[in-house]
Amino acid sequence: MHSRRGAHSGPAGAGVSAAPDKPRTGSLLHFADELDRQRPATEAPTGAELHLVTFALDREEFGLPIAQVREVIRVGEITRVPQARPHVRGVTNLRGRVLAVVEIRTRLGLTVATTTPRSRIIVVGVHDRTLGILVDAVSQVVKVPADTVVPPPEEVLSPGTDYISGVARWNSRLIVLLDLEKVLSLQD
């Protein structure tokens, strides 16, 4: 998966305006291609890029590597599981499979919010497991030059926030990069 995308968005930016060799299935990847096409040529990156799915929680923007995102779905009915671990909202039906849904807000230290029509579940694959992450809204899919990523100022970190792998400064936005494995380790 990774290599295929790598070829498409090569360092020279050759693929930016070219149509993808194969029509991609899955709305999210398709969306990513659309973005590629719309992007002005002046923005063509010169170095390595991070391909991110971003979502907003309160006033912070977070990013996940797209390689770990399988799809983004609307929030259907979520069934609460008695005695589940903290930060687990419940389980939901993903086309006949039972998907665990993680409450990312409380995991990241925010308060629980009610789901709205804009809420989405980001379906991610970590190792061989597939999980859902409940977010307030998915903003977009972006490509960020890797050299814009800096470590977060130490003063804003607190114990147990090692899931922040860095901060991308891009077009006057700050995107907090999440280390999914650490986010989902769910050790409490």
Binding site: T79, P82, T92, V98, L184
Partner: protein, 558 residues
């Protein structure tokens, strides 16, 4: 209110649809048997095959509170059990009882919605008891080796017939088991879709009212239901393997263990032909090896000790599998020294557990707790720090139960009760605080409507008088932590039980019976004590399956 009444009458309809064919099947078989026995042909294992349907009728009758049908089915079961074990008794008297009882049962099931007279049922139960008592006193005199060899010969006959069937050349194909799993998965999806269609049909029927089309649709759906049920039956049978496929590994294991422990031990296995789902068999080897190892290393005394106790030098381990009413029971007995109750008590006290020494069953159940080992010397064979709790956990994960009984100086016996299959679970769907949950029917004893003057409190815990016994009735909302304050308005309670243990759970609504496809719980969610898995219901929503065994195990009530 009206919705509840509707739900209840739907449940009664479900009951009749499921049980009437079973009762009729049993009745037909009894009539055929009566003829055969008159002709002096006591053979055949038809009787054993009827235990399943009878048990289903009994269980469902109990659940629906149709006591007369339950009584009659129970009495029939008792007679069948006796006649299965004692072919000599298969004659006119027994056959007449079976035929009349099954006739009564069919009638009771058919009229489940309208009242039936309990007197006739009680009278029949009395007749059955009298027949069994007189048969047993008569048998006691003549009971000897003859009977048991006869039974063993019977076992062997069944085994060889099965093996013949399995090895008939040209009619056997080898199939990767994963394909059977895939097939089951697809069937499971079909079942979910089927229940979605049935759900829609019910809503539609309520909306448009009775009409020819609705009636036709009803019939068509019933036919579809039956077909899918049959498909499920055949597929399940395809997945079954004889217990011997696991047992076969054991003679050598026991021989090696016995050799290393310098104790002569003989392993006797029986019931190897008993079928079990391969998925269960695959996970049964480890726990059984553990129990066998324990028996050889700890249970069986040294030859000198046995000689002092007047026992034969060679110890006997008896491993048998039997099918009992839709479950498989595996029993491992040794003739060793038995459990050391005093050590268990001492250990329990050391761990700060409150136990009544006067209740040996409660005491012995403690050996399944983590960190509970009374073994003093650690040997290279057993006592590797893996206790019986691991065995108990793996059996529970298979949806089974494990019990121990022990007689000092005479040996220990472990009884494992396992479902035939893991994948599909017949369940009662209930609603609690607007969420639905599945309760495996195998552990549902009854569903009861709460009446204000039957619910009481002791020490702030709910209790109810149920069939003459006081049972603890917990609020499902509290048990499941739904967060809704208990408001005392739940209209039903479900009585769950294993062995002699019973507990009630208060729920809001009974939705109905359903075959559910079990989907395991993602470990990310955690390891909830009260939930054993999940399933997808007809409307696409996920529901949790309650872990009845562990709920019953909780010593401290919620």
């Amino acid at each position: 209110m009206a919705a509840d009444e509707n739900a209840f009458s739907e449940l009664i309809q479900d009951y009749i649809v499921e049980c009437l064919p079973l009762a009729e099947q049993v009745g037909d078989a009894f009539v055929a048997l009566e003829r055969r026995w008159k002709e002096g042909d006591p053979g055949d294992n038809t009787l054993a095959a009827l235990a399943g349907p009878l048990h289903t009728v009994k269980g469902n009758s109990a659940m629906m509170g149709i006591a007369p049908a339950q009584t009659v089915a129970h009495a029939l079961e008792d007679i069948c059990a006796l006649l299965t074990a004692e072919p000599r008794l298969r004659g006119d008297e027994g056959a007449a009882l079976l035929v009349s009882g099954s006739g009564m049962l069919i009638d009771l099931v058919r009229r489940a919605a309208g009242g039936a007279q309990p007197e006739a049922a009680a009278e029949f139960a009395e007749q059955a008891r009298a027949f069994i008592t007189s048969a047993q006193t008569g048998a006691a005199a003549s009971e000897s080796a003859g009977e048991s060899t006869e039974r063993r010969a019977g076992d062997r006959r069944i085994t060889s017939r099965r093996e013949e069937a399995a090895s008939e050349p040209g009619s056997v194909v080898r199939v990767d088991f994963r394909r059977l799993d895939a097939l089951l998965e697809v069937l499971g999806e079909g079942m979910i879709e089927q229940s979605a269609v049935i759900e829609l049909y019910r809503r539609l029927a309520r909306k448009v009212g009775p009409s020819d089309e609705v009636a036709d649709l009803d019939r068509a759906l019933l036919a579809l239901q039956k077909t899918i049920k049959r498909m499920e039956g055949i597929l399940m049978e395809t997945r079954l393997l004889p217990a011997s496929s696991v047992f076969n590994r054991f003679p050598r294991l026991v021989r090696d263990l016995a050799h290393a422990a310098k104790k002569p031990v003989r392993l006797v296995t029986s019931g190897g032909a008993t079928p079990l789902d391969k998925a269960i068999l695959d996970r049964l080897g480890e726990p059984l090896i553990h129990l066998l190892t324990n028996a050889v290393v700890h249970g069986i005394e040294s030859p000198e000790e046995r000689a002092r106790a007047g026992k034969p030098a060679e110890a006997t381990l008896d491993l048998r599998a039997t099918s009992e009413s839709g479950r498989v029971v595996i029993r491992l007995s040794d003739d060793g020294r038995g459990l050391d109750d005093a050590s268990i008590l001492a250990k329990a006290e050391a761990l700060g557990l409150e136990v009544r020494a006067s209740d040996p069953e409660q005491l012995r159940a403690l050996i399944f707790l983590p960190g509970f080992s009374t073994v003093k010397e650690v040997s290279s064979l057993a006592g590797r720090g893996v206790g019986l709790d691991v065995v108990a956990t793996s059996i529970r994960e298979l949806g089974g139960t494990i019990e121990v009984s022990s007689r000092p100086g005479q040996g220990v016996s472990f009884t494992l009760s396992l479902p035939l299959t893991l994948a599909i679970l017949r369940s009662l769907i209930v609603e609690v605080d607007r969420e639905r949950y599945a309760v495996p029917l195998s552990h549902v004893t009854a569903t009861v409507r709460t009446e204000p003057d039957t619910m009481h409190q002791i020490n702030q815990k709910g209790v109810a008088l149920w069939r003459g016994d006081l049972i603890h009735v917990a609020d499902a909302g509290e048990l499941l932590g739904t967060g809704a304050p208990p408001n005392g308005s739940r209209r039903f309670y479900v009585v769950i039980g294993t062995g002699a243990r019973r507990r009630g759970i208060l729920v809001d609504r009974l939705i109905g019976h359903q075959d559910i496809v079990v989907k395991s719980l993602d470990p990310t969610v955690g390891r909830p004590e009260v939930v054993s898995g999940t399933t997808i219901l007809g409307d696409g929503k996920v529901a949790c399956i309650l872990d009845v065994v562990r709920i019953l195990d909780q010593r401290v009530p919620v």
